[in-house]
Symmetry: none
Subunit: 401 residues, 2 copies
């Protein structure tokens, strides 16, 4: 898992506390109008001041040029090789829906769709039915019974849902029935190996019964399933780092991810202010805190430069509350860049700062893509960042005699 | 092959065009007289201007300290692991001689040499015979017939030639007969495995007949063969990247290399101006262009600092013609450094720029070794450069959910 094979030999448990704040979609690129990025445009005096007394740099989430999803982006930050550890679409959707899945259980992403009288798909999104309709239909699908198998159908937004299969002889190694196109029949499921035969039968039975149950619906008269996945076998970061880690995140997907790698997921509210309150309330009980700040990514995905600037400024205003806790290490970074001008995640390296008494201070005057590039650490793979953070908290001893 | 194992899942085909210009031997080190490198001494306003609005950095061809030949240098640039994919000396010589070799065919590098009456080598280069003599003797060797085997002997400069064996039961897994020393007999060929027995017999028969044919020559009365190699089994970059790539290179070796990895090699002239004309003439038919500029390397190899500066300035003058095509991505880099003061290839990281609308602009004022070191990308392995270039052309989608 973790990049350094001799980690267990050099880990040192102590009481020092680490706060790692992940500003989702932190990095950006310059606006064509001003030549300044979101971070360069935002007034973030508190973060800038932190940067001045921190080790700063840029982290590459996966490889140069590779744009990470949320899964690889976060796994890297926690020290996992994002190429070795892949979280399937279904499992990630389940996390996002707040559904806990365990080893041996299989999750998939579902779409309601429309088929015509001959079975051809005419709309892969069932006319984008309402979320209320989706909820009603998911309850309907939940009534399907397959011997020795328990099925959970969790409604999402509009035509989307998550399905979880629980029971014996399940396998994620089957193909999707979603042709990703209209004017064609749903695809026949294919198993990738012998052990997936039983899974094929289970899913086919579900699809047959779903089709029958939905046949009188005007739009949502069939379902498409894709991304069958189990939770990956990822070692616990609590064990690997000898930490007692807590995750504080408003969004279910990040809570699910944190749980998967052995963090204690703390109940919290929907705002970052509430997350910080949760941090304060639990500060004495854990030695590592992962705090997730979502708003920067949301604004970036919307292509709303001003809104991302504002999100960064709002984040900045709460920094004094983190400082007041006087953690041994306060690290601020992001899981990936989300440049507003690209309206989505990107591959650009992500700024980070590591504030501790061991930092080489006075190198980075402001917290931005360009100034962090020239920071005391420079550009490193994101999966190495956690080692630096542990080191700054005196949690790593000497390697080799 | 390519560094990122999930490439096929994230490649997106589109019509955007990439021009990658490889300035052979681009990088240099400072002249002891001025303290400035060739790039720092050259007046290259067009390239400097490009750098200002590009993502810049340095690429390490193989590993720090490792000086690449042309093969590894170029393979890295196209995204191949240069340690995993080795092109044998014989195959590279064949490419250099403009000879096409196919799977199953074996090429080797040959030297004419001088032996005395007892068979001891007295001169490994046959008194550096003239190229005209070499041509005459190669014609002579071409008359050698071995049942079911076709032999092609291609003259090079002076005492050098390339030999290609075509037919059944060939193998590259045999040793050289070149002891790399005088005062000793040519070595006995050794097979590295059972399947090379037949190859040993074929080459021994060739050597026996060559010795007989050449016995009346004053200097070139024997041959030494080394670097037996087949073309490596390298996956096609056209397939891996879903590109329709074209190579425009005046020198045969680079055309051969490009062909080996699945590029369409376009007929062109002997000058860079002619290469650019070829680019213009074919611009609508391909989505990736590899343009090779040789003169910087040639001057560097000659140890001619001024001439390398001049070559870079001549290159700069043609940049507006590339800009005028308005490619989605214009990348300029080199396959390795060739510092004039070292009179040869070196290990020094090589400057690069990636010009696109997604670049973090305004970081790099000029295009040089030092300024690119402080560029927005920093120092990366050369084999990752291609991923960045594809990303800038919107040809990579998100990795992981």
């Amino acid at each position: 898992m973790i990049t350094f094979p001799y980690l267990s030999e050099i880990i040192r448990k102590n009481d020092y506390r680490i706060i790692m704040v992940v500003v989702d979609g932190l990095g950006g690129i310059p606006s064509p109008n001003t030549g300044l990025s979101e971070l360069e445009s935002a007034k973030i005096p508190n973060v800038d001041q932190l940067a001045q007394s921190s080790d700063c740099g840029l982290s590459t989430p996966v490889l140069p040029g590779i744009t990470p999803g949320s899964g690889p982006g976060h796994l890297s930050l926690f020290g996992y090789d994002p190429i070795q550890h892949i979280i399937g679409r279904g499992a990630l959707e389940a996390f996002g829906a707040g559904v806990t899945i365990k080893q041996g259980e299989i999750a998939a992403r579902g779409n309601f769709c429309t088929i015509d009288g001959t079975g051809l798909i005419t709309d892969r999104r069932a006319g984008r039915i309402s979320t209320t309709d989706c909820q009603r239909l998911c309850t309907l699908l939940s009534s399907i019974t397959i011997p020795q198998i328990s099925i959970q159908v969790v409604p999402g937004e509009g035509h989307r849902f998550t399905i979880v299969f629980r029971g014996k002889d399940l396998s994620p190694d089957i193909s999707s029935n979603d042709p990703q196109a209209v004017g064609t029949h749903p695809l026949t499921l294919v198993g990738f190996n012998k052990s997936s035969n039983s899974m094929i039968q289970i899913v086919n039975r579900f699809l047959d019964e779903a089709k029958e149950l939905l046949c009188k619906e005007q739009h949502a008269n069939m379902v498409l399933l894709r991304g069958f996945s189990s939770i990956p076998d990822i070692p616990s970061m609590a064990t690997a780092y000898q930490l007692n880690p807590a995750a504080i995140a408003a969004y279910p997907m990040y809570r699910g991810l944190a749980q998967l790698i052995g963090m204690n997921v703390l109940p919290t509210g929907k705002t970052f202010q509430q997350e910080i309150q949760t941090l304060k309330d639990n500060y004495l009980d854990y030695d590592f805190f992962f705090l997730h700040y979502k708003d920067a990514d949301t604004a970036g995905e919307d292509g709303d430069f001003k809104s991302k600037v504002k999100a960064l400024e709002e984040f900045d205003r709460l920094i004094p509350e983190l400082n007041a806790l006087q953690p041994t290490v306060l690290a601020i970074t992001g899981d990936h860049s989300t440049p507003s001008v690209m309206k989505g995640h990107s591959w650009h390296p992500v700024p980070f700062l590591i504030h501790s008494k061991y930092a080489i201070k006075g190198v980075t005057p402001t917290f931005s893509e360009k100034s962090c590039k020239s920071g005391s650490i420079g550009i490193i793979p994101a999966q190495h960042l956690m080692l630096s953070i542990l080191a700054h908290a005196d949690k790593l001893t000497k390697f080799g005699a």
